[in-house]
């Protein structure tokens, strides 16, 4: 099963992404996995809008979901230059508890089964169980 959503780079679109994922995956994965996918995808789409596309409304963010037997793969692509690298597991675990920013990518590293960076595209792999 797969689905694709294209949004403009405005924060109000976040709600649409949430509702789309929820209706596409409800019943396909456990409630806990769905909560994780909703959170991490929202974090990555927020980064794509704010940092990748710098809130230039005309620029698009593409979100794709593919479900496989054991995994759910979510890909988020923006029109930015991409980030240099992902935090390492060890770096992600060393969360600065009270920092007010910079948590999204670390959460993505901690809460996915696997995460891959490919230029301006990020692939999030979640185990279905």
């Amino acid at each position: 099963m797969k689905s694709r959503l294209v949004i403009k780079s405005e924060i109000v679109s976040i709600e649409r992404v949430y509702n789309w994922i929820e209706s596409f995956l409800k019943g396909e994965v456990s409630a806990k996995i769905l909560r994780d996918i909703l959170l991490i995808t929202q974090e990555m789409v927020t980064n794509a809008i704010l940092h990748g596309n710098r809130e230039i409304v005309e620029k698009e963010v593409i979100i794709e979901i593919n479900t496989f037997v054991d995994t759910v793969v979510v890909t988020v692509t923006d029109e930015g230059e991409g980030i240099e690298r992902l935090p390492l597991q060890e770096e992600a675990k060393e969360l600065d508890y009270l920092a007010e920013n910079g948590r999204g990518l670390k959460l993505a590293v901690l809460m996915t089964h696997k995460i891959e960076l490919n230029g301006n595209s990020i692939k999030l792999i979640f185990k279905r169980r």
Binding site: I11, I14, Q42, L98, E100
Partner: protein
Amino acid sequence: MKIAVKNSEGRKKIILMVEKFDVANMQEIKKNIEQEINGDKDDVLLDLSLVKFIDSSGLSVIIALFKQQNKLKKKLEICGLQKQPMELLKITQLHKIFMIIDNCNQR
């Protein structure tokens, strides 16, 4: 207003009136809370009973409030945590730092 406030002696209860507390409404909620506190030196009980989902932007507002209360040497307690908000506090280790209580109605 996306918050409701109940004042009792020395304590302000701030109830978030949203299901999602995230990047889409964090600025407005932050402003609502700041206006409500406005220099008051009360303990704060943050009631999250209605909130099903928090992202890192919503979390940053709670962290800012926590720091503000610490500076004033006043308490911030959080109550009514549903599953996802509690999971987020656990993975970020903030459950060890914040004062979390189960019952929003206890004094």
